[in-house]
């Protein structure tokens, strides 16, 4: 394989070289603030740093550009002490002014940029913008001195400051953003156009600088940042090669065309390991659930029926036969690494007899449900929707629930249909952004008007309220207790859906790639990686 | 044949002409266009033909290929829509008929085609071929009478009655032509238009069909319009002959008169060009060789259509004024300004250099690049 740049390595075997990594998709742009997609984030993580980072290999927040932080007792004022001597790729200094410039930029988005589709993470986590049309969690930022920034919030939330570890909220060079008109987002036709900053001039503080995006060859090239404030970067070049097809990625690795790739098919792990590749399994930080929508079928509003479904599906076997190594049956809606997890919830072990009798009790012996599953998509929590559907529907048939299979492409009607409550049963899931239970629970039940139409049951509203209350609890222990209660209730009294599994995604690397730590948040950093 | 001639010549017949055609024109538009089609010109296939056919006679139409004979025959039967002019059949103006009335009229005028194979549907048995026309006109009145009629027809055209179950491909060329003739006869027509009925057949078989046509005429009192390019055949069976050249009629006469004394230069040339299987005659013959080829009917010469090739062409009139068909001798018409002069030898032939003729491409090769918007990608 003619990797010409590889020739420049000085023989130490540790420093230098080009690493080519197979990515499943193209990054949308290079300004992560406007992104939600993993491919953009993967690239961004190499170029940018946030105030907060995550401890490698975990979802635990830890300092990054901020050395430490404190909050006022009311939990609304946060003081960040910044690292010194950090420079942006354009040579300008990183300091408190830059931090505030970034916060104010986010808060100050205008026009099309305010759209959910553009500044989604901001809207999700901080709410509105400086124009005040909607309330915002963010209040202000003050640069106390060059190395101290103070952030004020309008309310307490459990997710702050962890949320600052999201790649969307990384620190970008104010100078460069100004120069390349970073906020100039416009809606055009049925899409948005982004400024040249986001497309060609991303400027951060991270270990790699933006090289080029060769659309003709579908590669993104990053080059080493010699002025990186952290540990010396070992690779000269980091290339992301976009290979959408999973099998094609595997074969590219086998053929020696790439050094590693993301999301190997679980079925290949074993084979890849045997072939001497390093299959790095990420801790599972996700949940797959069998969604039950109560809207159209009244029987589904009966807890017994939902419990019958839970008893009737053989999740152990599903996990064993269809899911990757390390996958677990999910007992509740958050992984066990998240605060608020409790083993002390009602369990639904496979018991078809019990399921049948529950159905009989509920008088729902003759149920026919529309069971939706997405075609053409694999999510980290759902490696092969078809096979999972096959297993679940076969199980349901055994307890006498007939299913109509409905399948649509993920973006071609599946999400739409689920959101419009067209499905009675469906496969869905979630990968956590950071380690707070709110990130999971609020996503599912935070509003009564949700994918499960929990609002149709009397407890829908109170569940939503209790989640909100827990989030607003400044005391950590209390908060944890509240969440545990919620989980118990959800599993014992509500069962709005059936959690199925947590399955670990993985990435594969050639054996000579060292230093990459798999992260439950897919937050892998290549700055510390060496080749050879 | 002789009796037919006599019968036709009998002055006592009240309305002696069965068909009369007045100034019949068929112009095929040539369409071209960038987006929508425009008519950029016409093929003047038939360009003003008058003629009348008497009851019971055989009228022969000859001319070189492409001169419009077939088109004329079809326009006469309204199988091609004439551009102008009219054809009166037994007192009925055919051009006024539409739809069902025209369809019913078709019973009385039938057609025999040149290629016996392609004019028979390969998927139809002889029986179904013959019955089809009868059925269309309500002539099949029950299995028995139809069966009888079919046997009559077959014996009339000299085919075995076992033929009914067979399919066209099981017959020889001559036999197929007989089937074609029987099909025409099945509806008891008055007029039969035979378009080159024998030119696709072997010489020996030709004679059989020619004889058959003659016999049938006698038997059923038919009137024929026989179209052919072979003057010998036409002369053999026709009472009267019309000679066509490039969409127009140039000469019309009783068939003996035409041979004895052709008046139009074209007819003269044509007659002299036909080889005769007799070395004595061949050796003695003076040939009038025409220069060049038939001009394209899409772009016919001005004036007399024949002037470009005419050895008797004169400086005046020929290339400016189109001669009308006029009676030169009793019952003998010609369309030539100088017919009398030529006849009397006052004008002598001279040599003609062949003119370079832009050949009509569309006629001889098939190019399937779109010619109209109905053909676009």
């Amino acid at each position: 394989q003619s990797q010409r740049s590889a020739d420049t390595s000085n023989g130490s075997g540790k420093v230098g070289g080009t690493l080519t990594f197979g990515a499943a998709g193209a990054p949308k742009l290079f300004d992560p603030f406007y992104a939600t997609d993993g491919e953009t984030f993967r690239v961004a993580r190499q170029m940018f740093q946030g105030l907060v980072g995550f401890k490698p290999g975990t979802a635990q927040a830890q300092p990054d550009l901020a050395e430490k932080w404190d909050s006022s007792p009311d939990g609304k004022t946060w003081t960040f002490a910044l690292k010194t001597g950090v420079k942006f790729h354009d040579g300008t200094d990183f300091n408190a002014d830059a931090v505030c410039a970034n916060f104010n930029r986010w808060y100050g988005q205008k026009g099309a940029a305010q759209s959910d589709a553009v500044s989604q993470y901001w809207v999700d986590n901080f709410g509105g913008f400086s124009d005040g049309a909607k309330p915002s969690l963010y209040k202000s930022c003050t640069a106390k001195d060059a190395k101290t920034a103070v952030i004020e919030l309008t309310a307490v939330t459990s997710k702050f400051p962890d949320v600052l570890g999201l790649p969307s909220f990384v620190m970008q060079s104010p100078t460069a953003m100004k120069k390349y008109d970073a906020d100039n987002v416009t809606a055009q036709g049925d899409s948005f156009t982004y400024p040249s900053y986001a497309l060609e001039h991303p400027t951060g503080t991270g270990p790699f600088k933006f090289g080029k995006y060769d659309k003709a060859n579908n590669t993104v090239e990053l080059v080493k940042n010699d002025d990186y404030a952290g540990d010396k970067v070992k690779l000269d070049k980091l290339v992301f090669k976009i290979i959408p097809n999973e099998t094609a990625r595997k074969q590219a690795l086998q053929a020696g065309d790439i050094d590693g790739y993301d999301f190997p098919n679980a079925a290949d792990w074993d084979q890849l390991k045997k072939a001497g590749f390093n299959v790095a399994i990420r801790p599972a930080f996700n949940i797959l659930y069998l969604g039950i929508n109560q809207k159209n079928v009244p029987q589904l509003r009966d807890l017994k029926v939902r419990q019958a479904i839970a008893y009737g599906i053989n999740r152990e076997q599903l996990v064993k036969s269809q899911l990757p190594e390390g996958a677990k049956v999910a007992d509740e809606f958050i992984p066990d690494t998240v605060t608020g997890y409790t083993p002390d919830v009602q369990k639904y072990n496979y018991d078809p007899e019990k399921a049948k009798s529950l159905l009989k009790e509920a008088g729902a012996t003759d149920l026919t449900l529309n069971f939706w599953w997405p075609s053409e998509v694999t999510r980290p929590y759902m490696p092969s929707p078809k096979d999972i559907f096959g297993a679940l529907s076969a199980d349901l048939a055994k307890i006498g629930i007939k299913t109509n299979a409905v399948t649509k492409p993920w973006n071609g009607g599946y999400i739409d249909g689920i959101d419009q409550a067209q499905a009675d049963l469906f496969l869905f899931g979630w990968t956590g952004d950071f380690n707070t239970p709110d990130n999971f629970l609020a996503q599912f039940f935070g509003a009564p008007d949700n994918r499960l139409t929990t609002g149709a049951s009397p407890w829908g509203q109170s569940l939503a309220d209790s989640i909100k209350a827990a989030d607003a609890e400044p005391n950590k222990d209390k908060r944890t207790q509240l969440y545990q209660d919620i989980n118990k209730k959800v599993m014992g009294e509500y069962l709005p859906a059936v959690p199925v599994s947590h399955s670990p995604p993985a990435l594969v690397l050639k054996s000579d790639i060292k230093g990459l730590v798999p992260s439950p948040l897919t937050d892998e950093r290549f700055g510390s990686v060496s080749k050879g | 044949m002789t009796s037919a001639t006599e019968q036709a010549a009998d002055p006592s017949t009240v309305d002696e002409s069965l068909v009369s055609v007045h100034d019949l024109k068929v112009h095929f538009p040539i369409k071209r266009g960038v987006i929508l089609d425009r008519t950029v010109g016409y093929v003047y296939a038939v360009d003003g033909v008058d003629l009348s056919i008497r009851r019971g006679e055989t009228y022969g139409l000859v001319g070189e290929s492409g001169c419009g004979k077939t088109t004329f025959g079809r326009a006469l039967l309204r199988l091609v829509e004439p551009t102008s002019g009219r054809a009166v059949f037994d007192g009925t103006d055919l051009s006024t008929l539409r739809g069902e009335s025209l369809r019913l009229m078709r019973r009385r005028m039938q057609m025999v085609f040149q290629d016996p194979m392609s004019s028979l549907d390969p998927r139809q048995s002889v029986e179904s071929i013959l019955v089809e026309g009868m059925r269309a006109h309500g002539l099949d009145e029950g299995t028995e009478s139809t069966g009888k009629r079919l046997r009559e027809l077959l014996s009339a055209v000299g085919l075995a009655s076992t033929s009914l179950r067979k399919y066209p491909h099981e017959f020889s060329g001559g036999q197929r032509q007989r089937i074609g003739i029987a099909r025409a006869l099945a509806v008891k027509p008055d007029l039969i238009v035979a378009d080159e009925p024998v030119s696709a057949l072997d010489v020996s078989v030709q004679a059989q069909v020619v004889n058959l046509l003659e016999d049938l005429q006698q038997e059923f009192g038919l009137t024929y319009l026989v179209i052919a390019h072979d003057l010998a055949v036409v002369r053999h069976i026709s009472d009267r002959i019309g000679v066509m050249y490039l969409g127009g009629m140039v000469e019309e006469a009783d068939s003996d008169d035409l041979y004895a004394e052709p008046l139009h230069p074209y007819t003269r040339a044509l007659l002299s060009a036909i080889p005769v299987p007799d070395p004595e005659i061949e050796d003695r013959r003076e040939r009038i060789l025409l220069a060049g080829d038939l001009p394209s009917p899409a772009n016919p010469p001005t004036g007399c259509r024949f002037h470009t090739r005419c050895p008797w062409r004169q400086a005046e009139r020929c290339d400016t004024e189109r001669p009308v068909l006029r009676e030169i001798l009793p019952g003998h018409k010609a369309a030539c300004h100088y017919a009398e002069e030529i006849r009397e030898g006052r004008i002598l032939p001279h040599e003609v250099r062949a003119e370079v003729i832009a050949t009509d491409l569309s006629s001889d090769i098939e190019i399937s690049t779109p010619a109209s918007v109905t053909e676009i990608v």
Binding site: K320, A391, G412, G413 | S118, Y167
Partner: protein
């Protein structure tokens, strides 16, 4: 071979082979030559075998093709699928279903895809082509405009596009996608032959006999235009099976694989081609052989119907 390069010229050239009936009857002479043509006989043999298997497969299949009997032996994480074992000569598939039974029963769906796609394409084409060819005038222009727009997209691409246009892909939408691209071809083909027929002497003869127009169309023009249509249909049987497989591969096929179909079996097993080649090999081999059977028949039919080869 007609001059001009567009797809429609090709179609028109094929359409013309319906006229020129000089000499012996089309069908008879074609059959005479076909009977001795080894290529045709091989094609016919394959096809008959395939049809037979499809007909009796439910009877001879040892297991229910959708029952996940062997699911216990499936371990995705270790890439294990049920191996060949007594009662399961080819083992199981990724969902623990008996592969041999699926392969056998798959012939039914595959045949159905081919036949229905051909039938739909044919019917659509027949309707449009007959309308255009028999009525002519503006109906002809309109129909042909639509047909031409459809023909200006490469056909497989059109099938993909149509496949993508269904919100809810299933076996039926696959058939529709594959069939739709055939409609313009059949329509143009039929119209071409009908036009050729319309100018032919025997139709003229029928007109001059005073046969009613409707009868002329249905008794003379349509039957005599069918030769090229039959040829095309045979070839379409093959292409629609292959095209359906391509649709499956692109994820535009029937995602529900409870009822087996070869194209879909092949499409879904591509990803484990290297670890479980048999899962791809068998359906691929079946598709290739069946498509080959139809193609051999179609091509030799085409040759046989070609007037040039008649002697």
């Amino acid at each position: 071979m007609a001059l001009g390069a567009t797809k429609k010229d090709r179609i028109d050239a094929l359409a013309k082979s319906s006229v020129d009936d000089s000499g012996v009857s089309l069908a008879a002479s074609a059959w005479r030559r076909l009977r001795r043509n080894p290529v045709f006989l091989v094609g016919l043999g394959i096809t008959l075998l395939f049809v037979l298997v499809a007909a009796i497969s439910p009877l001879i299949a040892p297991h229910d093709p959708s029952a996940r009997d062997l699911i216990d032996q499936v371990v995705k994480a270790r890439n294990e699928i049920p191996p060949a074992q007594p009662g399961h000569p080819l083992g199981g598939d990724l969902q623990g279903r008996d592969f041999f039974s699926r392969l056998l029963v798959g012939s039914q769906q595959t045949l159905m895809v081919g036949v229905l796609a051909t039938l739909f394409g044919l019917t659509g084409g027949l309707v449009l082509g007959t309308l255009a060819g028999a009525i002519g005038g503006w109906v002809d222009s309109l129909v042909m405009r639509i047909v031409d727009v459809m023909l200006s997209i490469p056909s497989l691409l059109l099938a993909f596009s149509i496949g993508a246009l269904f919100a809810h892909p299933n076996q039926f939408t696959v058939i529709i996608a594959v069939a739709t691209v055939q409609i313009p071809i059949f329509a143009r083909l039929l119209r071409g032959s009908m036009l050729a027929q319309r100018g032919s002497d025997h139709v003229l003869a029928a007109r001059s006999l005073g046969v009613k127009p409707g009868q002329i169309v249905f008794r003379h023009m349509v039957p005599n235009s069918l030769g090229p249509v039959i040829v095309q249909s045979t070839l379409v049987l093959a292409t629609s099976i292959i095209d359906a497989a391509a649709l499956s591969f692109l994820g535009l096929g029937n995602p529900n694989d409870a009822i087996p179909e070869w194209g879909q079996m092949l499409g879904t097993s591509q990803e484990v081609l290297d670890s479980h080649p048999a899962l791809s090999f068998w359906p691929a081999a079946c598709i290739i052989i069946v498509a080959l059977g139809f193609t051999l028949m179609g091509e030799s039919l085409r040759d046989a119907l070609d007037p040039k080869n008649r002697r």
